[in-house]
């Protein structure tokens, strides 16, 4: 399995802060400003959501973001264009649903299958993919395409993932593993489940970084999770909430961008702080 260097580098200096936004929410230009604000705020990697019409794995916050983005005209082509135009220098991971990956070749006049999408993603400088509706069992064609084009394929491990299924993922994952902090779908929550700790323990043998997501909304939470052993922090809904507020209050894009940057900074700092607080004990996991 190829490992994407940019992603590996992002984890090299300690735990990574990985924010998520839906691309095109609420429109193309604003979205670009927001992603760039995240980078300024200290993102180590950015997960870019390519909106799919049936986002079954998302909480309502992100679902609504996706609706806004689709209504704003976002498509896979526009998404790639967006990435090309983006002025950030952190690795980018595309988060989307399998049907968009599978059909992309067809939209280019070719056959369906993941290769065309991955090829184009690599071309525009995407470093990895997260596909929430693609379990390891169905992932081989995509894993192959990623290998061919040097992309990482990130899997999500749920609190309930165990045994054989864990094995199957471990064999296929690269870049980092997305550790789902608790059951449920995405959405900002204030509790930091101790399922997280148990999940991190179960993954202790894996040699990829473990990034924890689902429901993280403050620097303080980020710090505690990293202190508990996470190699990264993934934050989506808490940021999308800021975009949603900006969209509904129609305030200037710059103001929303500034708020996003501030929030990113809080989370990035939390991440660093957590690393500093980490007990030798935890390090050993």
């Amino acid at each position: 399995m190829a490992e994407n260097e940019a992603i590996a580098a992002a984890f090299a200096d300690g735990p990574a802060f990985i924010p998520y936004l839906a691309v095109g929410d609420p429109d193309y230009e604003a979205s670009k400003a927001y992603v760039e604000a995240l980078a300024r705020g200290g993102a180590d990697i950015i997960e870019l959501g390519l909106p799919f019409s049936e986002p079954i794995a998302e909480g309502s916050t992100i679902q609504n973001a996706i609706v806004r983005a689709l209504e704003g005209g976002m498509t896979p082509s526009r998404f790639f264009e967006f990435v090309t135009e983006l002025d950030v220098d952190v690795p980018l991971v595309c988060m989307t649903y399998y049907n968009l990956i599978y059909q992309y070749g067809r939209s280019r006049g070719g056959a369906p299958g993941p290769d065309a999408f991955v090829e184009r993603a690599a071309e525009v400088g995407i470093s990895g993919l997260v596909v929430p509706d693609l379990p390891a069992e169905e992932a081989d064609p995509l894993r192959e395409a990623c290998d061919d084009h040097g992309l990482d394929l990130v899997f999500i491990v749920a609190p309930t993932t165990e045994g054989e299924r864990l094995e199957r993922m471990m064999e296929r994952v690269s870049g980092y593993v997305y550790v789902q902090a608790r059951l449920g779908t995405t959405g900002a929550k204030t509790d930091v489940s101790d399922q997280t700790t148990r999940s991190l323990q179960r993954l202790s043998e894996w040699d990829v970084p473990k990034a924890v997501g689902f429901g993280i909304s403050s620097g303080d939470q980020a710090a505690r999770i990293v202190a508990n052993g996470a190699d990264g922090i993934i934050v989506g809904s808490a940021l999308v909430d800021i975009v949603a507020e900006g969209a509904s209050s129609e305030r200037p894009v710059e103001e929303t961008a500034a708020e996003l940057e501030a929030k990113a900074r809080e989370l990035a700092e939390g991440t660093r702080e957590g690393a500093a607080r980490r007990s030798p004990d935890v390090d050993a996991i």
Binding site: N99, P135, T161
Partner: protein
């Protein structure tokens, strides 16, 4: 069917990781209780279907239609099932299975409300707390069904995200399930979703064709020449076809068919989809003015399974349309997609106008007011009866009481040759 839940290339389990253990557990329960009748599950299911559901439903010769079409038309009367549609076969099976699995709670999504009402009934009958997710817009369009669910003691949760229709309700139900998998079973409403749902729902619905095949032996004295059923997600379709699929007219080695002596006849299977106002699509707007995924859809992945879909060239799912809300779905069961690709099932589409004509035809000539979904099957019969011969079984998947208001509006909006004078209903009922 192979054990990995694939039908050819279709099917599979494309779901968020958090749900994988739940569908694994469900698959295990499916194998044990449904396929192997462990603890007498299937016996209890059949008994409750009889006593609570009203099975067997009749296979009725439609004398007047038979004369009209110069065919032997038989009606499989799922409209007489408790709740007014075939939906209860599946809902009762799944709620009972949830009980056997030790689950304490049921959730379900519903669009038009038919699956929701069936699930609410089954949950009340089996004393299972039940939450039904329904888009806010659908709630406003289907208030009688919402009321029925509440009367049965279910909690109906409005889904306000997105456009407030079926797809948002599905997402919301998945979301609930993802957070509560340990205590909760998600009752999917058709032969869609990840394995084992398509196979399991088919098996629960297969009682339709099990009865119909036996009844056909008694009444027709053999197999029918054709079987017709409407297809939305495809649960009534698969239920009506299941026990006729092997009647494909193919020669069989005695190894394939140990009973040997009864040579398999050929039963033609027609899945009638909603042709809506047109089979053309508007890619720009992301809208298909039909729900004909078998006839016009392309392979893709939706709601946990690979199947035929109405999608744009990028793979975004299109908004589907039909006069009948129960057929209004952009996907279709993966097994049905496979049976179409292997030429075992003929997909046909009937547009809104023809479906309405079928609605009035059955109401007037047989004294049975069908659901608008079901009406598509009769629209097909009216238009294409000359291409059929011998005996035909049509599945009456549901009754039309739920559709009276729509029938008025839709009849009013067009020129239906056989509609009664409805001037007094111009303002609705």
């Amino acid at each position: 069917m192979s054990t990995d839940g694939k039908f050819g290339d279709y099917g599979g389990q494309y779901v968020p990781e958090a749900l994988m253990p739940a569908i694994g557990e469900l698959d295990d329960a499916y194998q044990r209780y449904v396929l192997n009748n462990e603890d007498g599950f299937m016996d209890e299911f059949r008994e409750r279907l009889a006593d609570f559901g009203g099975r067997p439903t009749p296979l009725q010769r439609a004398d007047r239609l038979s004369e009209r079409y110069d065919l032997d038309v038989y009606l499989k009367r799922e409209d007489l099932l408790h709740g007014g549609a075939h939906k209860l076969n599946n809902a009762l099976g799944q709620v009972l299975l949830a009980k056997y699995m030790g689950k304490e709670r049921i959730i379900a999504e519903t669009g038009a409300g038919q699956h929701g009402t069936a699930t609410a009934m089954a949950a009340a009958h089996l004393d299972m707390p039940c939450t039904i997710y329904m888009g806010e817009r659908d709630i406003n369009r289907q208030r009688p069904n919402v009321f029925r669910m509440k009367l049965n003691g279910s909690d109906v949760k409005p889904v306000t995200a997105g456009r407030g229709t079926l797809k948002e309700a599905i997402s919301e139900t998945m979301r609930d399930w993802a957070a509560t998998v340990e205590s909760t079973h998600y009752v999917i409403g058709s032969v869609v979703g990840p394995h084992p749902f398509p196979a399991m729902v088919r098996d629960f619905q297969a009682v339709i064709s099990e009865e119909a095949r036996r009844q056909a032996q008694e009444k027709i004295g053999g197999l029918p020449d054709s079987v017709i059923a409407c297809a939305g997600g495809g649960s009534n379709t698969m239920g009506t076809f299941a026990n006729f699929v092997d009647d494909d007219g193919a020669e069989r080695s005695s190894a394939d068919d140990p009973s040997g002596d009864e040579p398999r006849g050929r039963v033609d299977l027609y899945a009638v989809e909603a042709g809506g106002s047109s089979l053309a699509v508007d890619e720009e707007a992301g809208v298909a003015p039909n729900s004909a995924s078998l006839s016009t859809g392309e392979e893709g992945v939706l709601h946990g399974a690979r199947t035929k879909l109405l999608q744009d060239s990028f793979g975004q799912i299109m908004e589907s349309h039909s006069i009948s809300s129960g057929l209004d779905y952009a996907g279709v069961g993966p097994e049905l997609a496979h049976l179409v690709d292997t030429d075992r099932v003929t997909p046909v589409a009937v547009d809104d106008d023809v479906a309405l004509e079928g609605f009035h035809r059955l109401s007037q000539t047989e004294g049975i007011i069908p659901a608008l979904e079901t009406a598509h099957a009769f629209g097909y019969l009216e238009e294409h009866h000359a291409e059929l011969s011998g005996s035909v079984i049509v599945n009456v998947s549901g009754r039309g009481d739920k559709d009276l208001q729509s029938a008025i509006e839709e009849t009013d909006a067009r020129d239906v040759p056989n509609a009664p004078d409805m001037s007094m209903f111009a303002e609705g009922i």
